[in-house]
Symmetry: C3
Subunit: 205 residues, 3 copies
């Protein structure tokens, strides 16, 4: 179940990568590679920091996720073409699942609670950040028009707190993942924003 | 011999980095740094995933490669100026050597075959991807007008298969490296392409 | 004292990240995240290469640095608004401290002198490079109009030499850090430049 959630998160993120590849006119190989990087990049960073072999390499079954994602985008792009909305929904689903599975894995491996929550956030936002950086566009993570990191932080914090009071069931993870997903989509829908980086409104773009 | 091929691959990639630095008007230090990142970046990523100290740091002799590359570009840029073709040739040579040495190292360290082939590809495309990302341009890896990852995948797969049937001689590596190099250049020359990321032709750029 | 210098370097780099976030119109969360990436990214890369748990995760106290930096920028942006000069000064302070603490940590963990000096440079330039890459702008590291890597290389080399003759006092680190800081600022003030990447002046931009 734990692995299933992680696999699902990988798939959702991989779809967001393949959609971006389609949007940018990449070929099918680029679609697989960008899906791979988006779906598995956050987990690779997490595992390197945890000092374990990245699951993308120790468990090759995960490679099916970017392959399936690229296939889905290849055949169903016409149906899901309402970009960038579709991309954002898949990205949000990946975010929700990864911030919870990332924090859980860090806790299971004995990290302190602050680091575990931080690693949950890193896992959640890392893949999307890599996707945007290698596709040479401004990262969604830094878009000031909605909330991205805050839902992930909240989710990772809840999971960490729940872990310490003994709620370690995958259903808890799933529930928190859905909460993060809903929070993220709501911030897009209702244009929730965080305060600007400066107290005064003036800034140069 | 194994180390020699790896060193040569580092040098070829480093030349591609230094050529890009020259092309962008960087200074000689930027030329060395971009050569370093291109030549040694893929191997550093590979070694971090394998959990060993990156050779760039454990064997400082490798640092001679980016220094030599920057020197070569400094003195011979006029002769090799037909950019970007020259850059592409050096990049292809690095790709050919690295996808084979990367896969071999992973196999020697006990990775499963799928992960070993994947690490060969990662080693091959990683340095060039870092080069393009830090130089803030669209990665060559994602250019839909030729084949880049497919030759690397093929080479890494052949090396992995050969390793399992007992052909582990450096000459095998060299031969496969040359094959990948030729395949990559042929794809540039004859404009071989992979199918687009979407079945329908329509896409927005 | 050692930790204090490292914390200060983290803070200075984090301020440079938060200033860039303010400059780009990011929100307060983006300011914290970019400060985190700039302040702690170089050390995370260093620690991954050294094969130890990154201090950003093992010692959560370091997280106070990007929080304080984002707070400082939030309230005092009007006072420090003379961008990009202010950003460059904080960046230079981080560079000075990190190239010395990075090399020292590598030496303490038994790296060879060349690798230690190189890791000092990596720690010094890594955070700023990550900052510029994720903010999708040309890295300061490669700006040919001043010297960036050379002061860091000099500082890391001095620290390494000093370590081997037995001068391992934090005051040595601080002194070398100040030297690097002054060297970097002087190169900005007096427009010191390194030779171009090519002997001939002609190059295409």
């Amino acid at each position: 179940m734990d692995t299933l959630l992680d696999f699902l998160g990988t798939f959702f993120f991989a779809v967001s990568g393949s959609l971006l590849a389609a949007h940018r006119g990449f070929d099918i190989v680029g679609s697989v590679l960008l899906g791979f990087l988006t779906g598995l990049g956050g987990g690779v960073i997490r595992d390197l920091i945890l000092g374990v072999t990245p699951t993308a390499f120790s468990q090759p079954i995960y490679l099916l996720a970017p392959l399936a994602a690229a296939g889905l985008v290849f055949f169903l792009y016409a149906a899901v073409e309402r970009l960038p909305r579709t991309l954002l929904v898949f990205d949000a689903a990946g975010l929700g699942l990864f911030c919870t599975t990332g924090a859980t894995k860090a806790l299971d491996l004995g990290m302190n609670p602050v680091a575990a929550a931080l690693l949950g956030v890193t896992t959640g936002v890392g893949g999307g950040l890599l996707r945007d950086v290698v596709a040479n566009r401004d990262p969604q993570l830094f878009d000031p028009n909605d909330l991205y990191a805050i839902p992930a932080m909240l989710g990772a914090a809840i999971i960490t707190a729940a872990w310490f009071v003994g709620w370690r069931h995958p259903v808890t993870q799933l529930a928190v993942g859905v909460l993060v997903f809903a929070f993220r989509l709501a911030s897009l829908r209702f244009r929730w924003r965080a305060p600007r980086a400066v107290a005064r409104r003036r800034h140069r773009t």
